[in-house]
Symmetry: D3
Subunit: 156 residues, 6 copies
């Protein structure tokens, strides 16, 4: 088989920058760390993560971000095993205009499509996200808590 030509990547390209901007909009301050961590393990994985869903899929204006994120929460709920990704997207769903009640409601709706085991997994992940947000917003606790969360994130 002939030598194959690995595509080159340019992080200063409009495509990559648009992807990073979109990730920051959704994930907030943890966005850059998240991608850096993945890049240290597998640069190609990180490149695809930035350019494919975030530079390509999410910026399209056919569906608004609030609805897109609720759909993603629904999808990750029924998978049952996507807890780390679900954490990111429950955060993103709240950041994009969904209320806590709407997140809880869509997880509850999913009982009908995935049963209780997967839906309960999602409910407990939702609780973790809400608890972390509450811990961060408590006065005088935000700095150390932030670090603890980052450590936890890495672990899951």
């Amino acid at each position: 088989m002939a030598k194959r030509q690995t595509p080159e990547h340019d992080e200063s390209s409009a495509e990559y920058q648009r992807g990073m901007a979109e990730i920051r909009k959704q994930l907030g301050p943890m966005a850059d760390n998240y991608i850096r961590r993945i890049k240290s393990l597998a640069p190609e994985f990180a490149w695809v993560n930035v350019t494919f869903p975030f530079a390509e899929l999410y910026p399209r204006d056919v569906i608004d971000l609030k609805t897109r994120e609720l759909c993603t929460v629904a999808a990750l709920t029924v998978q049952g095993f996507s807890q780390p990704e679900l954490k990111l997207h429950i955060n993103a769903a709240l950041r994009c205009g969904n209320s806590r009640g709407e997140v809880a409601e869509i997880i509850t709706q999913m009982i009908a499509y995935c049963g209780f085991p997967a839906a309960t997994n999602a409910l407990m992940t939702m609780k973790e996200v809400f608890d972390e947000i509450d811990a961060q917003s408590r006065p005088g606790k935000s700095k150390p808590k932030k670090r603890k969360i980052a450590a936890k994130e890495r672990r899951t």
Copy 2:
């Protein structure tokens, strides 16, 4: 073990009637046939199908029906094997105010969460639904086409 007491069901109850009304709103004219078919196989399954998602979950006003149905399409897409149920809910999504473009868009978004195999399955199911709707709306063809679709429905 003591004799267990099987709960009784009353199809004239407000709960059951609310569920049937909700199913008709979502599935349209095929709703009653769908439930009748399930009831002929397993009456308990049919009862739960009417009363739990449709009388209980969907009528809640926390999220509007249009968004709920798009979330369900997203969820069924990532499962990969839920083609018959996905057909019903793509129909319901259109009936509740989503455009064809929005349905195609959310299936496309799901590539990021379930990969191409499950997303392509959903895309082909979407095509089936669109084709059936188009066939039914063609002049002079609606009666025989309807019957063919019903037969197909039963088969999947």
Copy 3:
């Protein structure tokens, strides 16, 4: 779209009380805490959890509880990701008359239907349940151990 009518819930109803009685029969002393925890996160989720599987499905006398629980253990085993729910139902399976050997046997049978990864996950969850039961039954240790288990339960 017209304003939707959210169904009202009455926890003193026969339906809800029958569900709670069934949960207590299956999960034992942890039942009330389990539902309370879910209710604090999403009241609708908790209501459905009590009324749908426990007030509606489990009390039916077509299949005895011992067999029902073994089937549930089998089902949760093949899912692979349902470890917290599987813990509850391995406990319930033992409480409803299954021996430890029968639980281990049905998990082993499932290798044929889900392969080793999911079956091994279930075997390790089974070990956790057995270890917790053994820890609780050791003389002079039941009180503090109980608390530790509850904390762990919350975490998964």
Copy 4:
């Protein structure tokens, strides 16, 4: 890497014969055809199919066959995509002493663990099995119907 030693197979061994006897007990007259068909595609697959679940797992007397088969129906139901295997095991469940009502009941119970899409798939597969059995038992129709079913089996 050193040359690896592929294990030899002896279909006249006690192990293989015990497996075939068990398959015949569960699947009835279609058992030999089923294994022959697999063997023509992949002899190793067929050997493992006979010797691992049927010669090794099922003959153990820890759980009776009636319960084992009901557990398998539950497990295949929640998987959602195992329709051909589920057909075999609904047949086996009936053959091993389960009533149609018990099969319908356990599929219904599974709604709580896998949601409606997978459970409805299973219900429709159950209907196919019941219909085929009814068609075969009708007077004057058993011979041609039998052939038609075999053809269908091959197709799924």
Copy 5:
């Protein structure tokens, strides 16, 4: 929310052309039709399908194509529901240098990781692919058979 900027696509770009070349190498003569069909349903889906796995992932020279395709066959086997995609990739696996025996062997190996239901689904899909290839290579039959296969492809 501010108006979002949908990314523009250029099918004459090096990226898109590299993707199409890669698809043709893997899928052979059916490649262009496959992408055209998807594009007619959802242009964004088709664009991502060409540019992300085929222009970006597959051309990298870290792992040779023969091994990549065998890994994909393994992965689609354990999913259980990815039969249409598995058909494409069994074809691709053969085209990239794997023998029929190697494809059957890796599906057989997967029994250990996904159990018999998913592995048997894959085995039957493998049989379909082999049968179609054999039908096409029979003298005097290639033209009509080709058309029939294309129709079938569209259906799954």
Copy 6:
């Protein structure tokens, strides 16, 4: 139903010894502990674990071990929930001649077939394996680290 005859096991048999030899080749020094732990929970599970995949499937010379293990890593990646088994097989993949880059590459390829949630789960599991190997190879740390890993293994 007649009394069933539970098959007898002989760990000194050629079959069992071939299986154990294969496990040791793949898992290295942790192999014996792994099987012993499973045997203490469910002897039948352990017997099947040794004899079916390792004595029967893996020693066959149709595909070399390096490729087999990469396929297994691909398969466990798409499952999303098989993290403990994936850890074992990433270790085995490295031990059988795959580089770290090849493991990362195949996980990245799987994004196309399972999406980011499952692939990211696998990437994080890969990181754990690499970190544990690095910790063990640091001078003066190998002995205590080894023990810590064993404890962790037991926990997952």
